[in-house]
């Protein structure tokens, strides 16, 4: 049996008296695209943030390709926290894309992308810039190298943010509601782009409200409710024939508000 690329076991997190994650376990195989859906406040974003230790979970383990990040079991069976330095070293295995893009406003687009590989991975600047330019060209952003983020549209910013994460050559990508801060007409542009990325074989975990996108792009869908995995399985099965009553209710509500973005046929 092959080792999963991402293994999350018994992850738990509380904020004061509020329990965000109760006991979350799931696995993601290399090349898989997994969408995490669920009602507001169900812990989706917290889960994603706990996976790369932006938020430190209270319990449980995260393994990327067999390497523990953050907390690891010692030889004596007791849990051991890794040093911040070690966690910093491991984080780049996962690219993180934020809802609000979080580009560095004082740096040019090229610098936003090149800074991580140069500073963190100590790769030669020339090689990194070459790679960054190639990424920008692939993402339809050629010519924007010297622009500052403030001059970009929301969709462009999000593509730069994705390029910044990819430049670190991560093993998998985590997306935290990547289209929620975008204008409706730009959402589709970014979703199509994410689909291309998925088609290129990138392993992706996406927290999203775009059920249509999940249906067409995700291999698997995880439905979170009350800090637990309430249902998971192949996208078509979970979204087409939901078993969990809360999931049924959730899907019904979503369909009432908005028709899902149609991604069945690429626009180009």
């Amino acid at each position: 049996m092959t080792r999963p690329l991402l293994k999350v076991s018994n992850l738990a997190k509380s904020f004061g008296t509020m329990t965000a994650l109760r006991d979350i376990s799931f696995e993601v195989e290399a090349g898989e695209v997994v969408c995490i859906i669920g009602p507001s406040g169900c812990g989706k974003s917290t889960l994603l943030r706990c996976i790369n230790y932006l938020t430190f979970p209270d319990g449980g383990f995260v393994e990327v390709d067999g390497t523990h990040i953050g907390r690891e079991p010692g030889r004596d069976g007791k849990m051991r926290m890794q040093s911040h330095k070690r966690i910093d070293q491991l984080r780049p295995m996962m690219g993180f894309v934020f809802q609000q893009f979080n580009l560095w406003p004082h740096m040019t687009v090229l610098e936003n992308i090149a800074r991580g590989p140069v500073k963190v991975q100590r790769r030669p600047r020339e090689e990194v810039e070459h790679q960054a330019r190639a990424l920008l060209a692939r993402f339809g952003l050629a010519g924007k190298e010297d622009a500052y983020p403030s001059a970009l549209s929301g969709g462009q910013k999000q593509r730069v943010a994705i390029a910044r994460a990819l430049a670190m050559e991560p093993r998998l990508m985590l997306f935290d509601e990547p289209t929620s801060a975008l204008d409706p007409e730009i959402v589709k542009e970014v979703l199509l782009f994410l689909r291309e990325l998925a088609d290129s074989g990138m392993t992706m975990v996406i927290v999203t409200h775009e059920i249509g996108f999940a249906r067409h792009v995700a291999d698997r869908v995880i439905f979170l409710d009350g800090g637990l995995v309430a249902e998971q399985g192949p996208a078509r099965q979970v979204l087409g024939d939901p078993q969990n009553p809360r999931l049924r209710e959730f899907l019904a509500q979503i369909h009432e508000v908005a028709a899902p973005a149609d991604l069945s046929t690429p626009s180009h």
Partner: protein, 219 residues
Amino acid sequence: MDFDLVAFGDAFPRLLPAALTNLTIALVAMTLALIGGTVLTVLRTTGIGLLTGAIGVLISFIRGTPILVQIFLFYYGLPALGLDLTPIQAGVLAIALNSSIFITEIMRGGLSGMDPGPVEAAIALGVRARTIWTRVILPQLYIRILPPLVNELTTIVKGTALLSVITVVEVLRTAQQIANTTFRPLEALLAAAIVLFALNLAISQLGRRLETRFAARRG
């Protein structure tokens, strides 16, 4: 009114070279104050109780006492502690400390309004805390607080005139010397005011240019 235009005009050739002293003192003090203010700001975020407490006491003392008194304290106090300083050095240090306090307060205000997102993005990429400060937080913060920083520099330039009381020969003291020989204090002092005003006008204009230049890089 008895205003001697000739005495007024004659004051400038002596005041302008003295203005260079004011400008030099101001720039050195501002540089030190920026460094001091930044260090204080970073230290205050560590959350070490004793440290932030001590800084808090220092802040309230500096803010609660006249800068003129602080200048005298440095001028008479530091030599008493065994530090052999020229009046200019003591004055620069006094102004720099005073200004560090105001700058760290400006920086704290700027920090609290800053979007934490870019910092999280850096964390997610594995950037170390130190580099996050120097490459992500501080550059953004300086751009953000540029207008109050320029204002602080003009305050420092005005403060340099206070060093006349500890025998630093700058614009104000030069004007007083001129007045002592010409018996025309009003003319000499007005000329001194105009020279200092011109300095600050130039600084504010420069500040505005910088603001425009960095506008695109603001978050």
